[in-house]
């Protein structure tokens, strides 16, 4: 029986799932340096043990209202191909295994999010997990969104 291992996190009321193989680490919010002329959803860059990595604000990316930073706020450091970057989330909830049979294709209009970011919806008991398509979240997009 095929299953996926996911790291789940929350943004507002929604819960999301991310393939654990993409997750490099989870850190508290470090000092972030704003980068002028970067795409809006790129909050800035930070120092991850000597490497400069960009931080994407997922709330901005998904068009949600910004939220205050709390004790639970985290950066999930992800790896897509050779790019390393962090995403800011409201909280990291857990690591779980999900039976692939419990994953449904994304609904056409999903929770007010752009459907392109969603790989599917997973059911864990009563909870619904939005499974993110990381490649779509990052997919070259950022490069074409210069504000200038």
């Amino acid at each position: 029986m095929a299953e996926e291992q996911l790291v789940t996190f929350s943004l507002g009321a929604e819960e999301f799932g991310m393939d654990i193989m993409r997750v490099q680490e989870i850190i508290r919010i470090p000092p972030i340096t704003r980068v002028p002329k970067a795409p809006r959803h790129v909050e800035g860059v930070t120092n991850l043990r000597g490497n400069v990595i960009p931080i994407v604000n997922l709330r901005v990316r998904f068009g949600l209202t910004p939220a205050e930073e709390t004790d639970l706020s985290r950066i999930i450091v992800l790896q897509a191909e050779k790019k390393v970057f962090g995403i800011r989330v409201d909280a990291v909830t857990e690591v779980l295994r999900l039976d692939t049979a419990a994953i449904e294709p994304p609904p056409p209009v999903a929770m007010g999010l752009d459907a392109q970011f969603i790989r599917g919806v997973g059911k864990v008991g009563e909870r619904l997990l939005i499974l993110l398509d990381l490649d779509q979240v990052m997919a070259g997009e950022t490069k074409y969104e210069f504000s200038a």
């Binding site: 000092p31 340096t33 704003r34 980068v35 002028p36 002329k37 970067a38 790129v42 800035g44 860059v45 930070t46 120092n47 000597g50 490497n51 400069v52 990595i53 960009p54 050779k82 790019k83 390393v84 970057f85 990052m138 950022t142 490069k143 210069f146 200038a148």
Partner: protein
């Protein structure tokens, strides 16, 4: 021809492929430059010999590896070169064209080999052409020149390889009734013609010794010793000889080995000796031993590339040896080309080097933190001697770090000649295609700069040179009509200028059509028709995307892509490009680039709550300016600086930095400049100067306008580095 031998001669190709590729590319490069020289300087026998040698060893190596198309091409090229060598043919541009084409094809083939692909590149046509020419004169020529023993081999393919394999235990020199050839009166050294160097299967340590000896100018001799037929204890004789020789030099190897000697049928053995003594003395030493019938001394050829023949002996199975090339090479110091000069370099994987540089970078950052801690401690415990000692140690550490850093940085420096090297060919081909006469003058090839810069500079330079040839230089007729020399000159120069390197591409052609450019700029709406522009400002328009004034699109340049790409590429390296053009006299492009991209001195400035780093190499001075002194001219803020108007950029606005509540009466202006362009950056405060390690913002962000990269400060925070080149260029273009 050579195609019927499809068998790969039992060599584990993969293992030697890298060596083969490296070596072959070197030979191809040598052929390429040699051919251009040949064309320029005409029939030079030494040069042709060099070319022949290169083609030959390329052929040998390719044959061993089983790359038959390359063998076919080099074989035909060799024949052609041979005819040149015989004087049976003239060096004409046509011949050089074909031979250059051969190098191109082989290069493509090598690339395919590297990709582990079949060789698909076409070659029969070229071989056909060359064969036609080579046959052109007297066919007998080919027979005579088999002297190297290569063409005798049926396929002509494994020339070098066959020879070494055929005689693993029979040194050819000492056989065939000539056992007493070199008795006490015999001439020894002069007989290089029949001499075939043995393969001694040297190990790495021995090869090092050979190199060392070469450097010291010692002789390296192959000595063939023949003992009298009735010698009983051959091994003892051999040991005695060895002992004697050890007194005057170093015996590297003896074949067959001492242990095998008593059982060997042959009363013959062979030594490899390194010695500072003259050959006469050595021979006397040997002949002094009783029962020695003959001793032959030969200078042993030691090609600089020890992998030379890239041959692998089958008898020695899996063991890998790098053999000496069997191509006959005359004795050292006999005016042989630079091939014999050992190169004191090692090849290091660039990834390893980058890793080292990163680590040094981290250490620089860590040291900055240590210094900060020391200063903080001093504040808390001004009287404590331990703190003073810490600070002292930090100072010393700083000095060491500087040295270390400099040495490491120097590792990354490569001469720009590696890039310049490909342009003579480019210019030659372009000139021939455009029917122009052009001379390329290259200077400053030894100027060193960072590897990454060197790698990135090639394409922009190529663009500039193409433009110079295509648009700059006029046709010979036009030039004569203008009272100029029919041959146009394109010059390429590189030199250091403070912390920067300047690369100059100049031509003595017709200059930029400024009026045309101006009209174009007006038509595109970049500038109003009435605005007065300096020549320099007009010239800058050619860096606009989509700009082209070429009336006809040639296949060389003028397709409207190019100059903007050049500018972008240079900006991304932190450099600028300047144009100086004079109608009818030519155009000069001056490129300025930072020497290194990894660790730099920077000035840290504060703007609002943010801190930015400005490369110190671009900082000219800092000023304190009252707001009242700033004027707005044509929508741009300016300040008078020693009689000149200095354009200002408010970083606050440029970077949308949240404004401070109450703007101060006086602001700091950092005057930055590259070349003769200057610009003032308005900031809130200066934080001082510091060494920073440049880090890229990464692929996710790509390149952002005005930002060259990021760095990590002592407190662990990321700070952005300003891209002065692009800011400057922006100002010039925007006005």
């Amino acid at each position: 021809m050579d195609g019927d031998d499809r068998e790969n001669p039992g060599v584990d190709v993969a293992e030697f492929l890298d060596f083969y590729l490296l070596d072959s590319r070197e030979q191809i490069d040598r052929l390429g430059t040699g051919l251009l020289r040949l064309e320029k300087e005409g029939q030079d026998i030494n040069l042709v010999n060099d070319l022949f040698r290169s083609a030959h060893s390329l052929k040998g190596a390719s044959g061993t590896m089983g790359f038959l198309p390359i063998v076919a091409l080099t074989h035909a090229a060799e024949d052609l070169l041979d005819r040149l060598r015989q004087g049976a043919m003239e060096v004409t541009p046509g011949v050089v064209d074909v031979l250059l084409e051969v190098t191109d094809r082989i290069r493509t083939m090598l690339a395919q080999v590297e990709q582990r692909q079949e060789i698909r590149e076409e070659y029969e046509d070229l071989v056909g052409v060359m064969k036609g020419w080579a046959r052109g004169g007297s066919p007998s020529v080919r027979e005579e020149t088999g002297a190297g023993g290569v063409r005798n081999s049926p396929a002509g393919v494994h020339g070098a390889a066959d020879k070494s394999r055929s005689s693993p235990s029979e040194p050819e020199g000492g056989r065939e009734g000539g056992k007493v050839r070199a008795d006490s009166t015999g001439a020894v050294e002069a007989r290089e013609d029949n001499f075939v160097p043995r393969d001694f299967f040297l190990e790495a340590g021995d090869r090092d010794k050979v190199k060392e000896a070469q450097n010291k100018g010692y002789g390296i001799y192959q000595i063939d010793v023949t003992l009298a037929d009735d010698t009983l204890m051959k091994a003892v004789r051999a040991v005695v000889i060895m002992q004697r020789l050890e007194g005057i030099g170093t015996v590297l190897k003896i074949l067959p080995g001492i242990e095998e000697m008593d059982t060997a049928q042959d009363n013959h053995f062979c030594l490899l000796l390194i010695s500072p003594e003259p050959s006469e003395a050595i021979r006397e030493e040997i002949l002094g031993v009783s029962e020695v019938a003959a001793a032959e001394l030969h200078s042993y050829p030691t090609p600089s590339v020890l992998t030379g023949g890239a041959d692998v002996s089958q008898e020695h199975g899996a063991e890998s040896h790098y053999l000496y090339n069997n191509t006959p090479v005359s004795a050292p110091n006999a005016g042989v080309p630079a091939e014999n000069v050992p190169i004191h370099t090692i090849r290091v994987d660039t990834a390893r080097m980058d890793n080292l540089i990163n680590m040094v970078g981290e250490m620089v950052i860590t040291r900055t933190r240590l210094v900060q801690t020391g200063t903080d401690l001093k504040g808390c415990y001004p009287q404590e001697p331990l703190v003073s000692s810490l600070i002292e140690t930090n100072v010393y550490l700083g000095r060491l770090m500087n040295d270390l850093q400099e040495s490491v940085m120097r590792l990354r420096m490569v001469p720009i000649g590696t890039v310049f090297g490909r342009f003579p060919r480019l210019v030659r081909d372009l000139a021939r295609r455009t029917k122009k006469e052009i001379e390329l003058v290259v200077q400053g090839e030894d100027t060193e700069l960072d590897k990454t810069v060197v790698e990135a500079i090639g394409d922009p330079l190529m663009h500039l040179i193409r433009n110079a040839v295509d648009h700059g230089i006029e046709s010979p007729a036009e030039r004569r009509a203008a009272g100029k020399r029919a041959t146009g000159t394109v010059s390429l120069d590189a030199y250091h200028q403070g912390n920067h390197i300047a690369i100059v591409v100049a031509d003595d052609g017709c200059g930029l059509p400024l009026e045309k450019i101006r009209r174009k700029a007006v038509a595109e709406g970049w500038v109003s028709a009435r605005e007065g522009l300096s020549e320099r400002e007009i010239a800058q328009f050619i860096f606009r995307p989509g700009f082209s004034t070429a009336d006809t699109v040639t296949d060389i340049s003028g397709r409207g892509v190019g100059m903007d790409v050049v500018k972008k590429a240079l900006n991304s390296l932190g450099g600028t490009v300047d144009i100086d053009t004079r109608g009818g006299q030519g155009t000069t492009f001056t490129i300025r680039l930072p020497l290194t991209l990894a660790i730099i001195q920077a000035l840290l400035v504060e703007v609002g709550q943010e801190v930015y780093a400005i490369p110190l190499s671009s900082v000219l001075e800092t000023l304190l300016v009252a707001r009242g002194d700033m004027k707005t001219v044509g929508g741009r803020a300016m300040v008078q600086l020693r009689g000149n108007a200095l354009p200002l950029i408010f970083l606050e606005e440029e970077f949308d930095i949240p404004k401070t509540e109450k703007p101060p009466e006086e602001v700091f202006v950092v005057v930055v400049g590259l070349g003769d362009k200057a610009l003032g950056l308005v900031v809130d405060g200066l934080r001082g100067q510091q060494e920073i390690v440049i880090k890229s913002l990464g692929e996710v962000l790509g390149s952002l306008p005005g930002i060259a990269g990021a760095t990590i400060l002592g407190d662990g925070k990321v700070t952005l580095i300003l891209d002065i080149g692009s800011l400057l260029q922006d100002v010039v273009v925007r006005r």
